[in-house]
């Protein structure tokens, strides 16, 4: 009895540590990391980019130029312009003297928005009457324009509210949970880390089978006693080792360099990173198994990676995609990982909440690896 109880476990250990599998894992890691140049090119650019892009990737708007045509010239109009000039989102305030000039500035892209304050503006405000001003916005930069407009609007309504009599109702109060000051980098840095780690993992895995095919070593491998499952397991290893380490480095950078608060469960986050890479590796190996050459693998990876990033919710919310695309997005590891990262960093989610986004990653990973194994096996003509 005792013997039969032990044997599956021994078998598992023998399987996990069989010299055949071990040799392949060592080979995969050496092939990825032995050359100092490729080691550098694997690790340095993503870290550099995390720093660079963390500052670049913001949907916040600052430092934009605004044009102003003040036909009124009264005290309230002046006050409006002064507040505007001091606002942090405004770079330069260009005061012009004709509508034509105003329009010209927008056309050439010198300003993103222009305000036309009509005559009588100050007088109406003084009388607590509704006042009107026109804002022209450059539709070529529609998104930034909308944000700029919302800032101008806030200044205007504050100006209006400052004239309020004491007994009116307060319409609303706004609180931002998890990120009270709406610091953009609290969102960007962890999400970027996920993007960069994903690209690295995809890059490593999508080339791996294709490269061996092109160099002829794959045949050598197929002749050996190694079986397909082992080959695929070994191929997952470099990414599973390098990418999570990089992810951890980036997470530390997020916490200690960028000051993103971490409220969640750290071991849970580490587990999630592994599961994420597992899912990405599944996708990468499918690309690699299908490709005959390295060129096909690289271009194939791109064709998959770009939509993956765009549909993940990193640059735009996923909720406003059409329903069928939202279903596709469920298979994209980053979509879930972004939520896990936000949940761990800012929201302090527990296991139950994290797991809601974790299991789809596991499914993607298992399907991906199984498909890659089957494709490699069936490639045998």
């Amino acid at each position: 009895m005792a013997k039969s109880k032990i044997s599956p476990l021994t078998r598992l250990i023998n399987f996990l540590f069989s010299p055949i599998l071990r040799a392949q894992i060592v080979k995969e890691i050496l092939c990825t990391l032995r050359d100092p140049r490729s080691r550098m090119s694997l690790i340095v650019p993503p870290i550099l980019q995390l720093v660079l892009f963390s500052f670049a990737v913001t949907l916040d708007v600052s430092n934009v130029n605004i044009g102003v045509l003040d036909m009124d010239g009264g005290r309230q109009a002046q006050e409006f312009l002064t507040t505007l000039n001091e606002a942090k989102f405004v770079g330069k305030l260009y005061v012009v003297h004709s509508q034509k000039e105003l329009e010209n500035q927008i056309e050439t892209g010198k300003t993103i928005a222009s305000i036309n304050i009509p005559q009588g503006f100050s007088a109406k405000i003084g009388n607590r009457e509704p006042a009107i001003a026109q804002v022209l916005i450059d539709g070529r930069r529609a998104n930034s324009g909308q944000i700029v407009y919302s800032y101008i609007q806030a200044i205007a309504s504050n100006l209006g509210a400052s004239t309020a009599m004491p007994q009116g109702p307060q319409p609303s109060s706004i609180r931002y949970w998890f990120n009270p000051a709406l610091i953009y980098q609290w969102f960007t840095v962890p999400s970027l880390a996920a993007v960069l780690v994903t690209m690295t993992a995809l890059g490593i895995t999508s080339m791996s089978i294709a490269r061996e095919r092109e160099l002829g070593t794959f045949d050598q491998l197929l002749v050996s006693p190694a079986n397909y499952v082992e080959i695929i397991i070994a191929k997952t290893m470099p990414a599973l080792i390098i990418a999570p380490l990089m992810g951890l480095m980036m997470i530390f950078a997020a916490i200690f360099m960028f000051g993103v608060p971490f409220n969640g469960n750290f071991p849970l986050l580490v587990l999630s990173i592994y599961v994420h890479i597992f899912a990405v590796v599944g996708i990468g190996l499918i690309v690699s198994a299908v490709s005959q050459t390295q060129q096909q693998a690289i271009l194939g990876m791109f064709t998959i990676a770009v939509p993956m990033m765009l549909m993940s919710g990193f640059s735009t919310p996923t909720e406003n995609m059409p329903q069928f695309m939202q279903y596709i997005a469920e298979a994209i590891p980053n979509k879930h990982t972004l939520l896990i990262l936000q949940g761990s960093f800012l929201k302090g989610q527990g296991f139950a909440d994290i797991f809601r986004n974790l299991w789809p990653l596991l499914v993607t990973g298992f399907i991906g690896l199984s498909a890659a194994t089957i494709i490699v096996r069936n490639r045998l003509q």
């Binding site: 405000i125 026109q134 009116g168 109702p169 609303s172 064709t303 549909m311 936000q342």
Partner: protein, 373 residues
Amino acid sequence: MQRLGALIRKETIQMLRDPSTILVAVVLPVILLLLFAYAVSLDIKNLPIAVVRESDSVKAQSLSAAYSGTKFFVVNSQPNRQKAYELMVRGTVRGIVIIPHNLDKRLTSSNLGPMVEIISDGAQPNTARFIGGAASGVAQEWLAQSIGSKSPSGLFAQITLIPRYWYNAEIESRRTLIPGAIAIVMTMIGTLLTAMVVAREWERGTMEAIMATPANTIEILIGKLLPYFGLGMMATLICGALATWFFGVPLRGTWFGIIIISSAFLVPALGQGLLISIVTKNQFAAAQLALFTGFLPALMFSGFLYEISSMPLPLRLLSQIVAARYYVDGLRTIFLVGDIWKVLIPNIGFMLAIGAFFFVLAWRNSSKTLDNK
């Protein structure tokens, strides 16, 4: 001329026979445009929020209905705050609107607190800010309507701003994103594909055979690049046609303008691809370098997703040498405004200057011998 013609012909045949070329020049543009037209949209709508209505009064019901009535939100009614908080931590809702139990009293006094409390999920700051603004806008509008029906003015001066979005009155983000998508496709063709194709000639040894013929370096380079120039133009025209005829992006300028600005962009893009291939001479390294110096900057620093003026100064300076930035700016102007040469000529100038820089570097690195191999 005869040699050049032969080289161009050869390259074209090769290009058209390779399925991965078609993937990049035709399939990828279509996928990207579809995504930008339907999936990736900065226009915010249908965001899930929870509304907690603690009062059953007629006014509270009317206010709650005001939230359900906008296209911005998908309302998830919750019986109590606790439940709503849980949903927000979980991420099921992006914001919470609480209508307090004493709403009716609050409407008549300023001391009891605001008539709605809005809590927005700051984990995604952009969306959070939007939810905050839109939710308070709904409240304000509802208030103005319900009070305004009694007394037209007097509580405070209401300043109404009348926005006019020029060139894009409907504020559709696809109109501003699609030119960016074209720039990405062109970067892939001009830089990534070219870098890999030239690197492949080194790997396969065909470069050696060609170099031993009387063809000179300029002929070899032009023979290599011109077909990809053509492919890039073809992809642009495909994208342009799809954008205008299927995705409703207006073309207020001319096709001529598009061709001119795209030609100008291909100069630095091809120059960069060529330089990369000469420096690396191996496909894998060429792809990596093209990814990090071509594709990602085109995505990040071209101003198509992220506002350049909002970046810190060093990054703004860096973006000056990203050719895609001038291309995106020019294309948007041609599509949405027209052929405004005041805008286009400086853009073209910058692109040509960057292109010249790459070509000079490429020229200096490519000698006709194999010595530096």
